[in-house]
Structure formats: structure tokens, C-alpha cells
Amino acid sequence: MRKVLMVIRREYLQSVTKKSFWIGTLAFPLVLMLIFGLVILAHVVNPETQRKISFIDETGSLAANMTEALASQEEGVLSDGKPAFVVESIPLTGTVEQTRQGLEQRVLDEEIHGILVARQDLDPNQGFGLYLKSVGDEDTGRTLRRALQSAVVQLRLERSEIDLDRGTLDAFVQPIALKSFEVKAGGGATEKNPAVAQIGMLGFSMILYIVLFFYGFAVARGIIQEKSGRVMEVLLGSMTPNQLITGKILGVAAVSLTQMIVYAGTAWAARIYIMLKQDPEQFRSILELVAPARLLLFLLFVLLGYFLYTSLFAIVGAVSSTEQDAQNFQTPLVMMLMIPYVMSVFFVKHPDSPAAVAASFFPPFTPMVMFMRISVLTPPVWQIALSIALMLVAIYFTFRLAAKIFRIGSLMHGKRPTLPEIVRWARS
């Protein structure tokens, strides 16, 4: 045990006392901040302005209704209370087509933001059109569509024989806000912003992916350096292969934990800033995302995944003589990490599907898939427990296998072993 501690100590001190470690550690949040800064800057440089929409309205009465509908929508009002869109009705000059073509140059010159067209017949498929310089601005399309929808409903009601007063009519066409809630096994449901839940899930799986891959490869690289630097034999003269790889894996874990603490500290500073300067209610979804229970589960899965993958990467290191060898041998590991990542789009939409459940019980996929499932729904406790148990079993056997292969592979140089040779080492 003392020898394991000494290996951890060396591994840790050698990394943490390096300048490059701290530069790398601090660079990551700084780069993130820079990105956020750029996003904010983009908004500042491009301040919100009123947008002019020219409305070619054959019916003659939709434009007024639309202005009203826009005013009742959150997206239709700027932060200073002014309407976000100014809808001006354009009188027909000739046909609708001719009128529109006459306006197109003004769109290109950015005098007006867009042209909206509505036909007399209100045909649901052919009756409407929105002409913009760039259709990439999805928000404008969505806001105008919703406003136009209620304006059209209003017009249809007016055209029908039903006699309604203004107030009732407005109440009929009032758009609704559909909120999302997550049903909890213990009873009670919490409101969730699906976008935040998904972004959070994505963020967490990014961290997971980076930790598993980056530090896993660090273990492999360390072993290769000890082999190529011929330190290995000195080490093995002083301790067993088990002690050595245990020390290496735990040492690199301690280094990564240090980095995590730095990041967590940064995140907490941001959290305190939000609490002090902003309205916490506005950030409820985000605060819930970093709730202690969820963070603990996340940490647990990161750790389990870490030990499984570093053991696998230790095997990669033991059978490689150069980093190029390691690049080749690690391919299956990268695949195992990538598959759940690629499948995440499906798993997030169908977290309870048989495929997702099965994937969450396959140890190499468990950390990614199980955490994904926990992010978007609360799986039965037995499923979480079983996946953790299976992970522990897999870690135990992988570690033993790694130690065995390590015992022989650690002193091999030069020629890359073939797969049958590696299997023979594992059996010996």
C-alpha cells in the first residue's frame, strides 16, 4: 500500500507542479468565458431593433389583428416595451405578385426586414408567404407565424356567422404557453425546461467524454514513457505490476480531480454571481441542473467510467511501444466511447426504450447512457443499482486483466504484439 501511495505521490506532484498543467487547466474555463463573451459581444454589436414588415394583405383586415397579436406575445415586444415588429399594410399595385416584386429590392437593401403575403381566400396551404433576405433567422419566422395564426383564426371567426364580442374573440385566439414537467417516481412533478435539460445533458456528457478519453490516454502515455525510458524495470524491481498500475490509475485520478475542483470552483463562483446579481427564479432550470443529488450521481458515473477506461487504456499502454502504436490500439476504445455519444440523440428522445435500457447495462456504455437517461427521466432505482453493480464487476475483471497483460507487456519493446499474443499473455 505504501508503494502505491508513493507512485500516486510522484504521479500527482509531477503533474501538478508543472506550469503547463495549470495553463491547460485555467485555459479551459477562460476559453469558455471567451466564447460567452463573444456571444454577448455579438448581441451588443447587433442590438435589438424594431423590424419593419411590409404586409401585402388581400383581406385588408389581417394587418391590424396581427399587430395586436404580436403585442400579446413575449417575442413580439422589445425589452424597452416597444413592439419588435412594425407591420405596415401595403396597398396593392396590380396583382399580389407584382406588388411583392416591387418591394423585393427594399428587402435586399434592408430598408424593410421582410414581406408578408396573405391571400383573400386564406387557403391554409397556398394562401400565405414570408419573404426574407435570410431564412436562417428562425425566431422571426416562428413569432410571425404564431401572430399570423391567431390573426387568421380571428378573421375566420369574424367571417363566420357566429356572433361574438371582441373580448370573447380575443380570449379564443389567445396563444397558450405549454410548459414541460418531469414526473417523479416518488410523486410530485417538477417543471423542466427541455432545452436546458438537453443542453445540460450534452454538457455533462462532454465532460464525461473528455475525462474518460483525456485521462485514459494520459495513463497509456505514462506507461509507454516508462517503457521507452526503461524506467519500468526499476519500478517492477521495487513493486508488483498490480501496485504500479493501481498507483498510476489513482495518481492520474487525483490529478483529474484537482482539475475538476478548479472547474467546480469556477462554476460555484458563477452560481454565487447569479444568486447575487440576478433573479434566481429565472435560472431555476439551470440551478436544478447542478442540484447536489444529480452532481453526486454524475460524479459516481464519471468515477466508474474513469476506472473502467483507464484500466483499458493501461492495457493499451502495456501492449504499445510508441504513441503511434497506442493510437492504433485505442481505436476500439474510442469507438466504445463514441457510439453512445452518437446514439445520444435517440436515447434522449426515447430514454425508456429497450435499446436505451440495454445500452445502459453494457458497462462501457453505462456512464454515458445511464447518466443521459437520468438527465431526462428518473429510471427505476433497480436499473441504476444494477448498472452500477455491473460496472463494478467489469472494473474488477478489466483491472485484473490489465495487471496480467501489464506483467508481460510492460517489459516488451519494439515489435507490436499481435492479438493472439496478447490473448496468450492474458491467459498466462
Binding site: 505504501r2 508513493m6 509531477q14 524495470e233 524491481g237
Partner: protein, 307 residues
């Protein structure tokens, strides 16, 4: 006399290649023991089994009264592998602190001893330099300190003098003798017979993983002794091998070591030699370990590389 290391019927096979084949020998406690053999004879594999780095297929290893392996036992054995290795990015003092700490020394004690040794071997001013900034000779010193700083009871040196300049060789030879005087048993593995002959009292000569000669150097030399003649001369000595009764000649330019067949007359050889050469020196000698080595294993050519 107690034994420090005892190997019984040790066998190790790599694939088709039998590196060590039924090897048995005892290393007396407190001795300097030579493990001799050509490259690929199985020396390093044997050492790795003594160090519990490799497990034997069959046979037993007992060191310092216990089975190989175990933390405490490994702490009592110092090992200088043939292939030298240090962490290139580590500072000297840190490197030695680590080397000592994995041999059971407390961290501050390991650091103190490491620095003391650096001072003694005139590396003190470099203690905060990185290993990679040192010359090869300096690195050899650091490596050696790492092997001996924990005051081991058994020290295994695998080709310790290879690639070493004469000054360092002398320093290390003195250190080895000093350690031995303090009670450390030393196993000295080499294919350079001269240095083995100077240092060792007892040897095992292995070839193809088997011991072909075992015993004290004195006994061995006596066994091979009476029929070797050393000659120094002026002239071309190449005809010596063709003389009657001559079994083998090791030519050395203006010297030659001639091994005669059993019962051959040394004076007849002198007479024959005098006819063609100016003899400056003639003596009946015990053979050098080098010639015994060549006689025992040199008949076949080629090696198997380093197993």
C-alpha cells in the same frame, strides 16, 4: 555459510524459446557472485525471476531466506537493470527521493540520502537539474545511487560497467567493494570476464539457460589450470596453433595464450617457438576466466539476442 539466493531447477520458456532451462545455483551470503554468460544465455531472465518481475514456469527462487516477491523482501534487494532508465523530466533530487521511497524509505529520509550521495559522487550542484540535462556518465551515477541508497542486503547488478568510462568504472568498483565489506551480497551479471575475475569470488557460468560451470574462481582455474602457457614475443606468432600438442591459441598481437592438450610438453612448445620468434616472456599460468569462458561456450557461433 548461509545462502543469500538459492535457485532450484528454474525454468522459463518464451513461446518456443527456452530461456532458462533447469538452472540451479546458490549465492553465498556476503559474497560477490558472478553470473556469467554470453548475450542471450539467460542471465537477464534469471535475474528477472530473482526479482519476481517474471514468474518461473517451474522451479523455486529463495532470496534472503524467503520466497521471491513481497514488499519487505523487495525493499531489501537493490537492482540495477541492464537497460538504464530514469524519468527524464524529473529533477535529480526528486528522482532519488522517489527511488528511495519505493524501496521503503520515508520520503524525507530518501531525499536526505539521495542528496548526500549526489554530494559524495560530485553531483551536488546538479541536484535541481532535470535528468535529461545530464551527461550519460552522470545519469549512470544517478541510476547507481538509486539502486544502492536503501542499503540493500542483496544488490543485483546487470552489466553495470557497460558503456561506462574508465573513471566511472573505477568509482563504481570501489563502491561495490565497499558495500560488500558492509555485508551486502552482490550478484554481478556480465559477459566481460576481466571485470568478473577482478571482483568475484564465486561464479556460475550459464549457456542456453543451463549452468555449465559453478564454483569459486580459484577452484575453476585449478581445474583448467596446468596446461596453459602465456607468451610474449616479437614476430609473427600465427604458426603457434599448428604446433603439435597445441589445442587452442588466443592471439593478442605480440602476445599469445596457448592451451596445450593434456600431458603435452611445455618445454617442447618453448623450443618450437624460439626457432621462429624472439621470446620476451614465457610462463606456465592458470588460464584467465576469459579463456575458460571461450573454451566452455565459444565453440558455437551466434547468439539469440537478449532474452
Amino acid at each position: 555459510m548461509t545462502t543469500a539466493v538459492s535457485l532450484v531447477n528454474l525454468t522459463k520458456t518464451f513461446g518456443e524459446h527456452r530461456a532458462v532451462d533447469g538452472l540451479s545455483f546458490d549465492v553465498p551470503a556476503g559474497s560477490i557472485f558472478g553470473l556469467l554468460g554470453r548475450n542471450g544465455a539467460g542471465k537477464t531472465t534469471t535475474i528477472r525471476m530473482i526479482m519476481d518481475i517474471l514468474r518461473p514456469d517451474s522451479g523455486t527462487v529463495a532470496i534472503l531466506g524467503g520466497a521471491a516477491g513481497g514488499d519487505v523482501l523487495k525493499d531489501r534487494v537493490g537492482y540495477l537493470p541492464e537497460e538504464r532508465g530514469l524519468y527524464p523530466k524529473m529533477k535529480l533530487a526528486d528522482m532519488l527521493e522517489f527511488a528511495g521511497s519505493i524501496k521503503g524509505l520515508a520520503v524525507p529520509e530518501a531525499r536526505r540520502r539521495g542528496i548526500a550521495w549526489l554530494d559524495r559522487l560530485e553531483l551536488g550542484p546538479w541536484k535541481d537539474k532535470k535528468v535529461e540535462d545530464l551527461s550519460k556518465g552522470m545519469q549512470q551515477k544517478v541510476q547507481f545511487i538509486g539502486a544502492i541508497m536503501s542499503k540493500p542486503d542483496l544488490l543485483i547488478l546487470d552489466e553495470p560497467f557497460s558503456g561506462m568510462d574508465p573513471v566511472n568504472q573505477e568509482i563504481f568498483k570501489d563502491l561495490i567493494l565497499e558495500l560488500n565489506r558492509e555485508g551486502c551480497t552482490i550478484i554481478f551479471s556480465t559477459h566481460v570476464m576481466d571485470s568478473a575475475e577482478k571482483l568475484c569470488r564465486e561464479i556460475a557460468l550459464i549457456n542456453h539457460g543451463q549452468a555449465v560451470l559453478k564454483g569459486t574462481i580459484g577452484e575453476i582455474k585449478k581445474k583448467f589450470g596446468t596446461n596453459t602457457v602465456a607468451l610474449e614475443f616479437d614476430g609473427d606468432g600465427s604458426f603457434l596453433g599448428g604446433l603439435p600438442g597445441v589445442e587452442k591459441v588466443h592471439h593478442g598481437g605480440q602476445t599469445a595464450e596457448v592451451r596445450l592438450a593434456q600431458g603435452a610438453d611445455t618445454q617442447a612448445l618453448l623450443r618450437a617457438a624460439m626457432q621462429k620468434l624472439v621470446i620476451r616472456h614465457f610462463s606456465v599460468v592458470t588460464p584467465t576466466l576469459h579463456s575458460i569462458f571461450i573454451q566452455q561456450v565459444g565453440s558455437e557461433q551466434g547468439g539469440n539476442g537478449n532474452a
